[in-house]
């Protein structure tokens, strides 16, 4: 399995300068890679391109040799830093989860989600609890590659360790690919097999 970015360049329509220039990246499910860069350096934009959220860019992204699908379920899923921003505030948590897949009880237990939370609205849960939902939602059986963009930055150390432990178990079990974007060096050192600095691969 391979997520491959070839000659990716990106600039905002109003900007003169490129944010990302000629980026080449090959990711697979054999190694866990950590992507490191300063804020504003284009990490998040690169993540959005790799997962198919941003489509206006130069170059190509392929997954197993195919371009990312424009419709239907995306095999590359992206998890953001702020779970409250990616959930419909008028849906209860059960609906938020089922938007993606019929989550099993085992999976709920693995992520430490209490059954009673399913009937709550997003604003009735804390950031750590919401992020558990956000991550579990992304783990649809059709997900092949997971990109975690500062996924645990807003969480306390215990919740961070819990969520990453659960994710890594599933990633290994399902032989998924995993890219961790973070500025927390000890975290990257602990989890990742290899580090990539964005400034080293960005040709701006």
């Amino acid at each position: 399995m391979e997520l491959k970015a070839t000659n990716i360049s990106f600039k905002y329509p109003s900007a003169k300068k490129y944010l990302l220039k000629d980026i080449n990246l090959e990711l697979d499910n054999k190694k866990i890679i950590g992507l490191i860069g300063d804020s504003g350096s284009g990490k998040s934009t690169l993540c959005k391109i790799l997962s198919g959220y941003v489509t206006k860019y130069e170059g190509s992204v392929t997954f197993d040799g195919q371009p990312l699908p424009k419709k239907g379920f995306k095999p590359v899923q992206l998890i953001y830093q702020h779970p409250e921003k990616v959930m419909n505030p008028k849906w209860k948590m059960k609906q938020v989860l089922e938007e993606s897949w019929d989550v099993t009880d085992d999976a709920l237990a693995e992520f430490g989600i209490q059954k009673s939370w399913l009937t709550r609205f997003p604003q009735e849960l804390s950031g750590g609890e919401l992020q558990r939902f956000s991550v579990l939602r992304s783990l649809n059986p059709n997900t092949k590659f997971l990109i975690a963009d500062e996924m645990t930055t807003m969480l306390d150390a215990i919740t961070q360790a819990q969520i990453l432990d659960s994710v890594l178990k599933i990633v290994k079990k399902r032989k998924m690919g995993f890219l961790l974007v973070s500025h927390d060096m000890p975290l990257v050192e602990t989890i990742c097999d290899e580090k990539i600095y964005l400034k080293d691969i960005n040709g701006v």
């Binding site: 804020s39 009735e124 919401l130 150390a157 927390d184």
Partner: protein, 319 residues
């Protein structure tokens, strides 16, 4: 060192409508106790969404109308009324807010830093002072005429910090000053607080970022499910965490990637889920029978404080 701020048994609850005209009282902060002296940085560490920002709002008297505030907030030993808070805020006690979203987007930076003035002379004097402080924080004259959207993350942070220092405050309350900034800017922001401390200012740093707290704070208050469960010295966060007292603080320390990435089960009880006894009962390894029924008070151990029955007989060395 004179004591500046005492927060004693503060609780904050909100009246919420559930269905129709039914109301419920939602307790977000149950018992918050802490104190700050001159030239001291105290960090309050809690997870995001835990309600710790409300502490800042309570100190400045800017809680929303449906909030109920109980307990005492004292400044230099005097209990603050709403009027006192309105008098002191922006003068002795100032806020460094979370982001530039707290600035007026349609007002030039210099004008809002100076604020309301009565006369031209006052404006001139304040403008001069503003320029001096901005200069000190490496903000050139061109910044004065900018609008908030023109500032970069680091500049915005410097504007917020220097604006707060315009009134020669005694106490600075910083609410989540570090998220969304790169390492260099975080470092720079934290250095600002260190300088304030050197100038004898007391700093209350409200944060979820344990690295930031450990970097600058003298003492760290741990906030758990609406309670302050421990106030520890910064130096206690070393080694295996053996000098930390509360089992949650120990677990938190050991869960850091650099300290073993150890996992404990469970989650912080949410509002409405908090058990009758100790809020940490469900996850605690060293709980007693009484912890289930009885809620421990915050034990005062001098500079340190802990909310746990285990330490009622005092703290033995090495425990």
């Amino acid at each position: 060192m004179e004591k500046l701020l005492d927060v004693e048994n503060v609780s904050i609850s909100f009246i919420q409508y559930t269905k129709g005209l039914n109301q419920r009282d939602l307790k977000v902060i149950s018992d918050l106790t802490l104190d700050i002296s001159e030239g001291e940085i105290l960090a309050v560490l809690g997870s995001s969404g835990s309600g710790k920002s409300l502490l800042a709002h309570a100190i400045f008297g800017i809680l929303p109308e449906n909030a109920n505030l109980n307990g005492n907030i004292k400044y230099k030993g005097k209990i603050l009324s709403q009027e006192d808070k309105e008098e002191l805020r922006g003068k002795d006690i100032v806020l460094v807010p979370q982001s530039v979203n707290f600035l007026d987007p349609l007002m030039k930076i210099s004008d809002q830093a100076i604020g309301h003035v009565e006369s031209d002379e006052e404006k001139k004097a304040k403008k001069q002072k503003q320029r001096e402080i901005f200069e000190h924080y490496n903000l050139g004259p061109e910044v004065d005429d900018m609008y908030p959207f023109q500032l970069s993350g680091g500049m915005a942070r410097r504007v917020l910090v220097s604006t707060a220092l315009l009134s020669n405050p005694k106490l600075v309350v910083a609410d989540e000053p570090t998220p969304g900034l790169d390492e260099k800017t975080v470092q720079e922001t934290l250095n600002h607080f260190k300088h304030m401390k050197e100038d004898g200012i007391g700093v209350l740093l409200i944060t979820h970022d344990i690295h930031a707290a450990l970097e600058v704070a003298d003492r760290i208050g741990i906030f758990y499910s609406g309670y302050v469960i421990e106030i520890a010295l910064k130096d206690d966060f070393t080694g295996e965490g053996e000098n930390l007292l509360h089992p949650y603080t120990k677990a938190l320390f050991k869960a850091l990637p650099a300290n073993g990435f150890e996992i404990i089960k469970g989650h912080q009880p949410l509002h409405g889920e908090i058990p009758k006894g100790c809020p940490y009962y469900d996850r605690c390894e060293m709980r007693f029978d009484r912890c289930k029924e009885e809620r421990p008070e915050l034990l005062d151990l001098g500079k340190k404080k802990v909310r746990c029955f285990k330490y009622e007989e005092g703290v033995q060395d090495g425990t």
